[in-house]
Symmetry: C2
Subunit: 353 residues, 2 copies
C-alpha cells in the first residue's frame, strides 16, 4: 500500500460531538442566535474537522505550487511560459499578490516547484519536488504518466506533512503556472461531464476568438485522451498538471490530519476535484474561499458540494483568494472561542421581559 492509499485510508468523518459542542456554544454567546451567519457555520465545520470544541488558529500556511504546461504550445495563454519561473522568483522575493495578502493575515507562504519547465537555482526558501520539466501537451497525448500523477499527489501529501511538523492549524492552496486554467477546465469537464465550452474561460484575459480556440484545445485533449471520470489519477495524468496533483495531495494530507484546508480558486478547485475523486470524504475538510471569475468554477464547487464564502471577481490564483477565506476562518474560530456568553456578561436573553 502506497502513501496515497494510506493517506486516503486515514480520512474519516467530521467529529459530530465537537460540532454539536460548537453549535451549542454559539447559542450561548452574546448575540442573537445565528446572527453571525456563515461565520457561525464555519466555526462549527472547523470544530468538526479538528475535533476540538473551540479550535484555535495560530499557525497558518499558504502552499503555492508551481508547474508548467505543455499545452501552452497550442496558444492557450496570453503570457509567455517564462512567466511561471519569473513569478516563482517573485514569490521568493516577496513581491507577488500572495506575499502581500498572506503577510496581512499572518500566514507563511510555502513555494513549491512541482514541475516548472526550467531549472531553478537552489534556494533555501524554495521546495523542489519537480516531477518533470513541464507536462506534455495534452492536446497531443497524455499530460503525464500515471506514475507521475501518483508522484505529484504523494509529493503534495509530503509537503503538507512537513508543514504540519512546523506547526499548522489551517492551510490554503495556491497555484502558479502559465496555461493552468486549460488543464483545470479539462479536469472540470472530465469529472462533471460538461462540455469544454461550458467550463472554459478567459484565464488571464483572452479575447473571444482566443477563448473559442482554448475551448477547442480542451475538447481535443478530452476526445484524444478519454480520461475516466471514476479514476481521478487517470484524469490527472491525462489532462492535469503537476501543481494540480500537488494541490490534490495537500488537500488529502490536510484531511487525513484533520486540518481545515482553504481552497482558493479555479486551479485549486481542479486539485480539489482530484482529491475528492480519490477520497470523497475530503469534501468535508474543504472551505471554498471564493467564487472565481472563471465560468467553470461554479460547476467545480457544485461537484465539491461547497458554497464559496465571497465573490469578489478574483482570478489571480496563487492562493490570494484563500487568504481572504483564511481570514474568515480565523474570524469564525475567534468568535467561537473569545466572545463572552450571556451568563459571563450578565446580558439578558431573548424572551426575558
Amino acid at each position: 500500500m502506497g502513501v496515497l492509499e494510506e493517506t486516503v485510508g486515514k480520512i474519516g468523518d467530521l467529529d459530530q460531538r465537537a460540532m454539536q459542542a460548537a453549535r451549542s456554544r454559539q447559542d450561548t454567546l452574546t448575540k442573537p442566535q445565528g446572527s453571525l451567519g456563515r461565520l457561525e457555520e464555519l466555526s462549527i465545520q472547523i470544530a468538526g474537522i479538528t475535533g476540538k470544541n473551540q479550535p484555535r488558529i495560530a499557525n497558518k500556511a499558504i502552499i503555492t505550487m508551481a508547474g508548467d504546461h505543455g499545452v501552452v504550445a497550442s496558444g492557450v495563454s496570453l503570457y509567455p511560459q517564462e512567466v511561471t519561473v519569473q513569478m516563482v522568483l517573485n514569490f521568493l522575493a516577496g513581491g507577488a499578490g500572495i506575499n502581500v495578502l498572506s503577510k496581512l493575515i499572518g500566514a507563511r507562504v510555502v513555494v513549491v516547484d512541482m514541475g516548472v519547465k526550467s531549472d531553478l537555482a537552489s534556494d533555501a526558501r524554495l521546495i523542489s519536488r519537480k516531477i518533470g520539466h513541464s507536462t506534455a501537451d495534452m492536446s497531443k497525448g497524455p499530460a503525464m504518466t500515471r506514475s507521475q500523477a501518483r508522484e505529484a499527489v504523494e509529493a503534495g501529501i509530503g509537503i503538507l506533512e512537513a508543514e504540519l511538523a512546523r506547526g499548522l492549524d489551517i492551510v490554503g492552496t495556491g497555484d502558479m503556472g502559465i496555461g493552468n486554467t486549460t488543464p483545470s477546465s479539462a479536469i472540470c469537464a472530465a469529472m462533471t461531464g460538461k462540455p469544454a465550452s461550458a467550463v472554459t474561460g478567459r484565464g488571464t484575459g483572452l479575447g473571444d476568438g482566443q477563448l473559442e480556440k482554448k475551448a477547442r484545445v480542451v475538447q481535443q485533449a478530452l476526445d484524444l485522451n478519454r480520461p475516466n471520470a471514476k479514476d481521478a489519477l487517470d484524469v490527472l495524468s491525462k489532462v492535469g498538471g503537476f501543481e494540480i496533483g500537488g494541490i490534490a495531495g495537500v488537500i488529502l494530507g490536510a484531511a487525513a490530519n484533520r486540518i481545515p484546508v482553504v481552497i482558493d480558486g479555479f486551479i485549486s478547485g481542479a486539485g480539489a476535484m482530484i482529491a475528492a475523486g480519490l477520497a470523497p470524504k475530503t469534501r468535508g475538510y474543504m472551505v471554498a474561499a471564493h467564487l472565481s471569475v472563471e465560468p467553470g468554477h461554479k460547476a467545480m464547487l457544485e461537484y465539491l458540494h461547497l458554497s464559496p464564502l465571497v465573490d469578489l471577481d478574483l482570478r489571480l490564483g496563487e492562493g490570494t483568494g484563500g487568504c481572504i477565506g483564511m481570514f474568515l476562518c480565523e474570524s469564525a474560530t475567534r468568535v467561537l472561542s473569545e466572545m463572552a456568553t450571556f451568563e459571563q456578561a450578565g446580558v439578558s436573553t431573548a424572551g426575558e421581559k
Copy 2:
C-alpha cells in the same frame, strides 16, 4: 452656519487624479490586469477618497453607537430593553462580537452612548453624548425633536473629529440598540417610498406574527409622522434614533475629512441614508461591507448606489460586518502599495512572446 452645514460644505468629489494614478499602478503590478477584481476597484476608490496615490491604512477605528428606542413599548423586539445597556458594558469589557473581530483586524472600538435609556456609570472607555434617555415611541409621535436630530448628527461629527486627532486612516460604523431595526426600516421606507412591509425584517429573530405586527408599527409611525423624504433631518427626527443620527454624523465627518468609511449593516445603512440625504456626495466615501439578512438592506444599498463586498448572512450589527469590510480595504491598499511591478520583478507582460 452650524457644524452640520460647515461639515456638509467641506464634502467634495473624489480625487480623480489620485484614482487615475492608482488605476495605472494596478496595471503595472505583477498580476494579470484586473485579476484582483473588487480589491483593485476598492484601492482606486480609497485613493480617490484620501487623495493619495498609494493610501496606507494604519490607524483603524470602529465607532459603535448605542441608543434606546421608545418604540420597543409596541412590542417590536424579542429582547428586553435592558440588553442595550448590558451590551454597552459587554463592549467595554471586551466580550462582544465587535471586540473579537476588531481585535483581529487591529482596529480600536470606540463606544458611544448616544441615548441609552438608563444612566451609565462614568467610565474612561465610554464616550457619553447622550441626546436623551431613549427616543420617544415613534408610533405615537415623533421619535425626537428636530433640534435633537441635529444634535445627534453633530455629536457624530464631533466623535469622528476627535478620533481623527488620535490618528485615523479608516473608520467603520456600528450600532447597538434594542429595537433599532424598527426605525431603520422606517427610514428606509421614508427615503425610498417603499411600503413598510417590503423593508421590515425579523431583526433579532421575530416569528411570522411578530413580523407582521412590526411592519404595522413601522407603517403607523410613517402615517402618523409623515416624514419628508427630501429633508433628512425631518426623517431622522420623526422615525429615527439617536445612534442612527450619530452614525450619520460619523459618516459626514469622515467624508468631510477624506477618510474612507465602512458601512456595516442595516442600522448603519439607515445612518448612511440620512448622511446621503444631507450631503449626496457622501456616497463616494462609503464602502458597503456586506449585505445584511434584513430584507430592507438591499433597498438601502440601491439608494446609496453601493454594492456590498460580501454576503455572509450576517445580522448582528455592532460594526461586526464592517470589520470584514475594513480587512478587505486594507487588503486592497496593501496590494496597491506593496506588490512589485512587472519591471521591478523582471516579469514578462502579456503578449511578450
